[in-house]
Structures are given as structure tokens and as C-alpha cells.
Amino acid sequence: MTAKNMFTAMVSAISISISANAAEVGKAAPDFSAKDAKGTDVSLAALKGKVVVLEWVNHGCPFVVKHYGSKNMQKLQETYTGKGVVWITINSGSKASGSYTDDATFIKMSEEKGSKASHLIADESGTIGKAYDAKVTPHMFVIDAKGVLAYNGAIDSKKSTDVADIAGAENYVVKALDAVLADKPVETAKTEPYGCGVKY
């Protein structure tokens, strides 16, 4: 790591801050502020008025590969950012775990996969991940325009790595986003997420 990169990483690590609230459906989502991989400031409080998706990622995880390899995740990102949703993809892998990606690598990997996320955040310290109790990749959260956590859980109902299972699965994120965007209650607001453990 060059001295400049090291400085950038240090700034990135210390720039993440978080409120003390636990992530509980129906309550205010834990606030956080961080610099994204491109150096843009991202603050949940500043995004009030917009629906926000948090997606935990690790491109080495076969469950993530299922949803990116099939373009399922990219289609969701494209569809809902097109409706004004802010989509934040977060990697909380630590350097010690081997799952960490520096900002440049995170951007490159995401571009190669055709990600349409609004922001990428390398949460190397795990600060945001632990505030939300992000357990696996992909673990999905939907926050409504008032900043209230509306959905916490799996991307869909089929716990598998098989792309063929996507078509027949109930996509909980789609249902939650459609409900929130229509100002309706989310019927299935909490599910058990499936995937690889987040490597804090």
C-alpha cells in the first residue's frame, strides 16, 4: 500500500460514524455517515425523504454470485434507482478475513459486474454492519422515506446457490420496496437472511 493509499484508507475508516440505535423493523434505522468508494459523503440522515436500500456484498460468496451472475441484483438496482431509490452496497469484510476490498478494487469489481448501486461503501471496521447486525451476504435492508427500517432479511425465499431458483422465489425486497414506494405497510418485514457469513 502506498503512503497516499494508506492515508485514504485511514481517512475512510475513521470517517464512518453511527448512531447508537439498534436496527429494528418499525423503528428509526441506525444513522450512519461515511465516505463512499468514490470519496462522496453519504449520510442516512441526509437521505431522509428518499427510500434507501442497504445491500451487504462479498463477491467471493456463492450466494452473491447467484444474484450477480444472473443479473438479478443489477436489475433490482436499475429498476429501483430508476424510481428514486438510493441503493447502497456495503462490504463489511475486514482486512484480517481476506474479504476486504479497497475502494479502487470495490469500484472495479462492481463495474465489471454491471452494478447499478448508487454508492459503494467499504466498511472495513464493520461499524455499519454491526449497527445493522448484517449477518450474511447478501443481507438486505429497506429504509422508508421517513428513515424507518421497513424490511430486514433475505433477498428472496429460496435459500440456495442455484440461479434456476430465482424465477420461482418470492422476492422480499421487491415486495418491500413496492409497498414502501406506494406508502403501504410491508407485509413480510423480517425474514431470516441466507448467504455467507459477513467476515468481520
Binding site: 460468496c61 449477518k135 435459500k159 434456476a164 441466507y194 459477513v198
Partner: protein, 277 residues
């Protein structure tokens, strides 16, 4: 079903060896897979016992029928001739595995998953049995999905010879599968975020369940992060108790629960079911 030409698939051709059909797959998905069938010949309308044997690489684990947090159940998708059927894979007792912040029900090393193939009443001639086994193998660094192509050719009529070694392995596999036992009655009291188990022996039962562990077959009812160990209960040797934390994903009203009780003191794991009255 996935194409069998997928590069992730391990070709698995079976060679008849007397009563058994055995094959080894190339090494994929951090596990070695063999298929053993008790007989190279079938009789119309009758079942044949078989086993999928998996050996996970050192440091890797695969998953039980209820994988717990993360993980994935091992499954097979069959492509069988008309009228043939295959039972679901049966699973022996797992062990609790904590990797990072996730708790799961898992296996290390060798695991034997028995099942039965049944020929229809009008079956005749040579038949080809095909299936695709899929699993997930994980260690503390990550997870690797595995697939193996299972294939066997079976012939009609009486068997020409026997292969006792494979028969023994198939018998061993079945002997470790949890079995219903009507000598035990279960009650579960769901209160204060916990499930309070009472397992009561009928008069003629003298086996102690003290120290045995409960593993829930139904997903998202019990929290896998905490082991559910059976205590001595009222000390009579007839009424045993255990306390389990509810899963944060459990429904408000839990209507039923299937679970197994396992310990090295028991001949085989006991399959029990509770239904709310």
C-alpha cells in the same frame, strides 16, 4: 434442472460390483462423493436401499436438513425413468457449528445420506437412474458450492452376486437415521421468549436422556446459537426437561415442532414431534 455439462458438475459413472454399485467423483466442492446402491438388480414394485456418501475436506463442513444460519441443505434432483421414485435423502444427527457470527447444524468428515429407490409394478429391462446432488461446503474463510452427477444402470431380475462391504455401509447409514419412538411424550411451553421442553418416558422406558442434545428439524423456530441440552428434570428418570431460546424469526404462534434427540448414549437418534393442542 441445470445442464449436466456445467463445469461445476462432477461426472459420476457407476460400475456394477455385485450387489453394490459404487463410484467416486472427481473432487469438486471441497467434498468427495460416492453413490452406493444395495443391488445392481431390481424387482418390479420393490424398493432398493442406497446411500450418498460425502467426505468433506479437512476444515470444511456441510449442512444438515436444517442448516441453521447461513448454509444450505444438501439436496438431489432426480431424473428417473417413468414410474420410478426416490425417497428424500435421510440425515443422521449433525453437530452445532459456529463460524464467525453464524451458528449452523453441520457435518465434518464423512456423512452417509441413505435413501430408497422404488421400481414401479410394471418395471422391466435395463433402466438408467440419474440425479444431480448439490451441496455447500464452508470453512471460516468462505463457502464453496458443489455439484455431482449421480448415475446408475440397474437391471431387472435376481442379483448374480453380493458385495457385503457395501451392504454393511448401507446398514450403518440407516442405523444412524433418527427414528420415531412412541415411548416418549413431548410437551413444549412457549413463554418468555423461550421454549420449555418436557420429555416424558412412558412406564416401561428406562433410557436416560440427560445430557442429550435437541436439534430442531423445522427451521427458524429455535435459535441455533445456543445448544439445547436435556437436563435431569424432576430427577425421577422419567421426566426430562430442556430450555431453548426462540429464534428471532419464529412465528408468534408456534403450532408444531419436529426435532431429534441425540447423544452417544442412545442407540440411534430419536425423532420426536410436538403439536400445540
Amino acid at each position: 434442472m441445470k445442464s449436466f455439462t456445467s463445469s461445476a458438475l462432477a461426472g459420476l459413472a457407476l460400475l456394477p460390483l455385485g450387489y453394490s454399485q459404487v463410484a467416486s467423483s472427481p473432487h469438486e466442492g471441497n467434498a468427495k462423493v460416492d453413490l452406493l446402491i444395495a443391488d445392481s438388480h431390481y424387482q418390479a414394485g420393490k424398493p432398493i436401499r442406497a446411500v450418498v456418501r460425502m467426505i468433506y475436506d479437512p476444515g470444511y463442513h456441510g449442512y444438515w436438513i436444517n442448516p441453521g444460519e447461513g448454509g444450505m441443505k444438501t439436496e438431489v434432483k432426480w431424473n428417473l425413468p417413468d414410474g420410478w421414485s426416490a425417497s428424500e435423502l435421510s440425515f443422521p444427527a449433525p453437530q452445532r457449528e459456529v463460524t464467525g457470527n453464524l451458528a449452523s447444524y453441520a457435518y465434518h468428515g464423512e456423512v452417509l445420506l441413505p435413501f430408497e429407490l422404488t421400481a414401479p409394478a410394471n418395471a422391466s429391462g435395463e433402466v438408467k437412474i440419474e440425479g444431480e446432488l448439490s451441496w455447500l461446503a464452508c470453512n471460516d474463510k468462505g463457502c464453496v458450492p458443489g455439484d455431482a452427477f449421480l448415475r446408475a444402470t440397474l437391471h431387472s431380475g435376481a442379483s448374480p452376486s453380493s458385495a457385503q462391504q457395501e451392504q454393511k455401509l448401507i446398514d450403518l447409514a440407516w442405523s444412524k437415521i433418527p427414528e420415531k419412538d412412541p415411548r416418549w411424550e413431548v410437551n413444549v411451553d412457549d413463554r418468555d421468549g423461550s421454549l420449555h421442553f418436557t420429555i416424558q418416558a412412558k412406564a416401561d422406558e428406562t433410557t436416560s436422556l440427560e445430557g442429550a442434545e435437541i436439534f430442531p428439524i423445522d427451521e427458524q423456530i429455535l435459535d441455533p446459537a445456543t445448544a439445547v441440552l436435556i437436563g435431569s428434570g424432576d430427577g425421577s428418570g422419567k421426566n426430562f426437561t430442556a430450555l431453548a431460546k426462540r429464534s428471532e424469526y419464529a412465528p408468534k404462534e408456534i403450532a408444531s415442532l419436529q426435532f431429534i434427540v441425540h447423544s452417544s448414549n442412545l442407540k440411534r437418534p430419536i425423532l420426536l414431534e410436538w403439536k400445540k393442542k
